[in-house]
């Protein structure tokens, strides 16, 4: 009895939680006339998606976001791996202080330093480029922290065995440490991709043209200027920009949840 009540509560909350998305789906897949009229004979249509796709260069925005997310993740993986390995296994002078300086980024996030970073990008002459969007995030304090913890847990014996066989430092890193940290890389990768797929404020500030805008900024410009108030089309566009991430999430649900858990934040 009590358990049935709890099951009902769980389901009720789940239905409330899914309602906004279900409603968005309804609006996007039906003609505008049915946007708020819930009838079983309402015809399904993809016209809203087609209209959104035609009305703004979403193909280009998709490409930009894809390039941006790939570039940031690749840079993060390389930079964080090298730095984390140095912190985990090499005794160099100033290591403790340097590590503290890395941790500063957990408090002082690039999301907040928008005014000063905009100036830096202007001085470097790279405003309105994918590089300008990605650069502040590439050396991720969080990534370094996470990988350092992982590398520290690699057994010393494995490390020494590889050294005795004559492996150089980078070979050692590539053959012993990186393979053992694979689940952490997966976790960090998923979190990083979804973070930067969704990131908005900084890309909005540094981009100024169709060639560089990511999806989030493109969607916002599309929704605020072009459309008047055709909600069916705006909702279709919102769902469209989210679709790849949502599909990936549904396919890899378990890994996603595990990853967010492992990686905590960002």
């Amino acid at each position: 009895m009590r358990s049935a009540l709890e099951t009902a509560a769980a389901w009720l909350l789940a239905l409330i939680w899914i309602l906004p998305l279900a409603y968005a789906g309804w609006t996007a897949f039906h003609p505008a006339a049915y946007a708020t009229a819930f009838r079983f004979d309402a015809p399904l249509t993809l016209a809203n998606f087609a209209a959104a796709w035609q009305a703004a260069p979403f193909a280009r925005y998709f490409l930009n976001t894809f390039l941006l997310v790939t570039m940031i993740l690749a840079a993060q993986l390389v930079l964080c791996t090298l730095a984390a390995f140095a912190f985990a296994r090499i005794e160099f002078r100033g290591r403790a202080v340097a590590f503290l300086l890395v941790l500063v980024q957990l408090m002082v996030m690039p999301d907040v330093l928008i005014v000063e970073n905009y100036r830096t990008m202007a001085r470097l002459g790279i405003l309105d480029s994918l590089g300008a969007i990605g650069l502040p995030y590439m050396a991720s304090g969080f990534g370094i922290f996470l990988l350092r913890q992982t590398f520290k847990s690699v057994p010393r014996e494995l490390d020494e065995a590889a050294r005795i066989e004559g492996a150089g430092l980078l070979q050692l890193l590539w053959r012993v440490y990186v393979p053992l940290a694979r689940p952490v890389y997966l976790a960090y990768g998923l979190v990083s991709v979804s973070y930067h797929w969704n990131n908005f404020l900084w890309p909005l500030i540094v981009t100024n043209s169709v060639e560089t805008r990511p999806l989030t900024v493109g969607l916002q410009i599309f929704a605020s200027t072009d459309q008047g108030i055709d909600w069916s089309i705006i909702t279709a566009a919102s769902l469209m920009t989210t679709a790849p991430l949502l599909v990936a999430f549904l396919l890899f649900q378990r890994q996603f949840v595990q990853s967010f858990l492992r990686a905590g934040i960002r």
Binding site: E6, A10, W11, L13, A14, W17, I18, P20, L21, A24, T36, V78, L79, C80, A83, F85, A86, I90, F92, R93, R95, A98, L101, Q105, M107, V108, P110, V112, L113, I114, V115, Y118, T120, L135, P136, M138, A139, G141, I144, L169, S194, F200, L201, L204, I205, L215, T216, L219, Q220, A223, I229, W231, S238, T242, L245, F249, F256, V257, F260, G264
Partner: protein, 292 residues
């Protein structure tokens, strides 16, 4: 190469690429922001002049700043406890056997994966006066239509509801993980002694979840100061600054009025707030101040 020098070179070489980027885009801008906040904004031919604490004095006398700070506190106090309570409830509900558990869990977690921009555009539609979902539902109950985002009294609560909806599922997974660490025998022992389920929750489960609650609390607070995407989409701080939050104000001062010196002073204050929050977390986690 002498063997004592070797780790020094190797260590710093490996660190170098990350260190350069960190210095350029985290350390330098932090220091530069603090310095800029002591100068005037350069205008035309006139360069920046040292003005001491003038920008901070301006801040103290700026009603919009105080409103943004007040709004941000209301926003944090309104969203954080609600999101945490819901997250805990969700975790408790799906931690047991349950028909369709995978679907329920998915329903709770999905809003977390979506971009705030897409979410805000969808919710903008819900709040549309007369036509949107909220007014349609209330209309069934006979209530008149209301301009939810256009009224000073309702704009902030509307944004808070949406934020709680988006964030609760994210915090749920931390609670889920923590719940799975608690040995079932503890609850069973308490049940044998005749404790009610509420007592078990209050005296056993909840105290054991305290470290998780602290972790989630700090991150939720940081998020409430860090994320303003929804303001840009839905209200632009209005009406009458009723939904103005600190970071959005920095954005507006810095990139609409181009008053970079004042924006720097505002950023310093925001950074101090965030640093205080993050330090609290550090101290708690380092000392492992637990439950007793």
């Amino acid at each position: 190469m002498p063997s004592r020098l070797r780790p020094q070179i190797e260590g710093w070489l490996l660190l170098l690429p990350a260190a350069v980027l960190l210095a350029l885009f985290t350390h330098y801008p932090t220091v530069a922001t603090a310095i800029d906040s002591l100068f005037s904004t350069p205008r035309g031919a006139r360069g920046a002049v040292y003005v001491g604490l003038d920008n901070y004095a301006e801040m103290a006398g700026d009603p919009v700043f105080w409103q943004a700070l007040g709004n941000n506190l209301v926003f944090a106090l309104g969203t954080v406890p609600a999101a945490i309570a819901l997250a805990l409830l969700m975790a408790l509900l799906v931690d047991r056997k349950l028909a369709g558990r995978d679907f329920v869990r998915l329903a709770y977690f999905t809003p977390t994966v979506l971009p705030m921009i897409a979410v805000a555009n969808i919710w903008l539609f819900f709040y549309t006066p007369g036509y949107g979902l909220v007014d349609q539902l209330l209309h069934l109950l006979g209530a008149p239509s209301h301009n939810w985002l256009g009224s000073r009294g309702t704009v902030l609560p509307c944004l808070m509801v949406m934020t709680v909806w988006k964030e609760a599922g994210f915090f749920m997974i931390f609670y889920l993980a923590a719940l799975q660490q608690i040995p079932p025998s503890l609850g069973e022992a308490a049940a044998l002694e005749g404790a009610s389920r509420w007592t078990i929750f209050r005296r056993v489960t909840f105290p054991l979840l305290m470290p998780t609650t602290l972790f989630v609390l700090v991150n939720a607070l940081i998020n409430s100061f860090r994320l303003v995407d929804q303001i840009i989409v839905m209200t632009e701080g209005g009406p009458d600054n009723a939904s103005m939050l600190l970071l959005y104000y920095v954005f507006e001062v810095g990139f609409k009025y181009w008053d970079t010196a004042y924006a720097a002073a505002l950023t310093v204050l925001l950074l101090a707030l965030l640093a205080a929050l993050a330090l609290t977390q550090f101290l708690y986690f380092d000392r492992r101040v637990h439950y007793r």
